[in-house]
C-alpha cells in the first residue's frame, strides 16, 4: 500500500484539519485491559484522588494512540509512519460524568527528502490545556 497524500501537494507550515474525540471512563478500562497498563490511577477515582490527582486520568499512551490514528487516517497508510514521538505535558482528566474531549491538530513542520514530511502534532483538552505534543515523520506518495 502507500500513502494517499502526495508530498508535492503540501507546503511547509500548512495546517491539517483538526479532529476531536471524546474519552470516557469505559474507554480507559478497555485500554487498560488491551494494553496491560493496569495502574489504578486510570480507573479508580478514589485511588487517583488518594495519590493527589484531581480525578481519574487517561493513560498517556491512550492519547498517543489516538494521535497515531489522526496521523495514519490522514496519510492513508499506517505503514507510512517512520517515526512517532509524543511528549506528555499535562493530564487528560476524565470525570465520571461526561468524560473529556480532546482535539488533535497537526501542521506540516518540514518537508524532507524522498517525499517525506515531519508533522508537528498537538492534543488539547476541552478546557484549552495542551496535554501532549507530538512529532511524526511520514513517507508520502
Amino acid at each position: 500500500m502507500g500513502a494517499r497524500i502526495a508530498a508535492k501537494d503540501l507546503t511547509q507550515g500548512q495546517e491539517l484539519p483538526s479532529w476531536s474525540y471524546r474519552v470516557v471512563r469505559e474507554d480507559l478500562v478497555r485500554y487498560a485491559n488491551a494494553s496491560g497498563d493496569g495502574n489504578p490511577i486510570h480507573q479508580n477515582e478514589e485511588f487517583a484522588k488518594s495519590v493527589g490527582l484531581p480525578d481519574v486520568i487517561a493513560h498517556g499512551m491512550h492519547t498517543m494512540g489516538r494521535m497515531g490514528e489522526y496521523v495514519t487516517d490522514w496519510a492513508g497508510d499506517p505503514g507510512a509512519v517512520e517515526r512517532f514521538k509524543t511528549r506528555f505535558s499535562a493530564m487528560v482528566v476524565v470525570p465520571a460524568q461526561g468524560g473529556n474531549t480532546v482535539t488533535v491538530a497537526g501542521t506540516v513542520a518540514e518537508k524532507l527528502e524522498g517525499d517525506r514530511v515531519r508533522l508537528d502534532l498537538v492534543a488539547t483538552t476541552q478546557d484549552g490545556a495542551s496535554v501532549a505534543k507530538g512529532e511524526a515523520i511520514v513517507a508520502l506518495a
Binding site: Y21, S35, D37, G60, M61, T72
Partner: protein, 152 residues
C-alpha cells in the same frame, strides 16, 4: 533518593518472545477506538499489500510492560513506582508490526539525567523478530518526580 547512575548504559537480557495475534491487534485497536480495517480485516490488509493484519503504531506499548519490568523493578536502580510519570514516548519503525510476528525486545537504560527537581530515566528497546529482522526501536522517558540529587 536519587536513581543509581551506575545503571546508565546498562543492557538487559532479551525479553521472552511475544507472539502478535490478530485478536490482540483487534482488541488494541478497539481500545483506542481506531476503526481502520487494516487492523481487523485480513482481506483488507492483503488488498493493501500486507501479508497479514497489521497493528496500529502504538501497539508496541504492550511489549513495554513485558520488557521494562526487569529494569524498573531492580531494587538497586532505586526507582519508586509511586513517583513515576510517563514523560515521553518515541518509536522508530522499519515496518508495521503484523499478526504472526514473534517479537523479542532487547532493552537498555540509555540515560539517567536530572532536570530540576526531577530525574529523567530514558529506556530504549530494539525490537526484532525471532528471525533477527529489526522491526522498531522504542524509547521511553520516565519522569521520577522529586528525586534529583539536592544541590549545595
Amino acid at each position: 533518593m536519587p536513581l543509581n547512575k551506575a545503571f546508565e548504559g546498562r543492557e538487559f537480557a532479551a525479553a521472552p518472545p511475544y507472539e502478535v495475534t490478530a485478536e490482540s491487534i483487534r482488541e488494541f485497536a478497539d481500545a483506542i477506538g481506531d476503526r481502520n480495517p487494516l487492523y481487523r480485516d485480513e482481506a483488507a490488509a492483503k488488498e493493501a499489500g500486507y501479508e497479514a493484519i497489521i497493528a496500529p503504531p502504538t501497539y508496541l506499548t504492550k511489549l513495554n510492560f513485558i520488557y521494562s519490568a526487569e529494569m524498573m523493578l531492580d531494587p538497586n536502580l532505586g526507582l519508586n513506582y509511586a513517583l513515576v510519570v510517563h514523560g515521553e514516548q518515541e518509536y522508530e519503525y522499519r515496518r508495521p508490526v503484523k499478526a504472526g510476528d514473534v517479537l523479542i525486545a532487547t532493552p537498555k537504560i540509555a540515560a539517567i539525567t536530572a532536570k530540576g527537581r526531577n530525574e529523567l530515566l530514558v529506556t530504549e528497546a530494539v525490537i526484532r523478530t525471532a528471525d533477527g529482522e529489526q522491526v522498531a526501536v522504542a524509547r521511553s522517558t520516565i519522569v521520577s518526580r522529586g528525586t534529583a540529587p539536592q544541590e549545595g
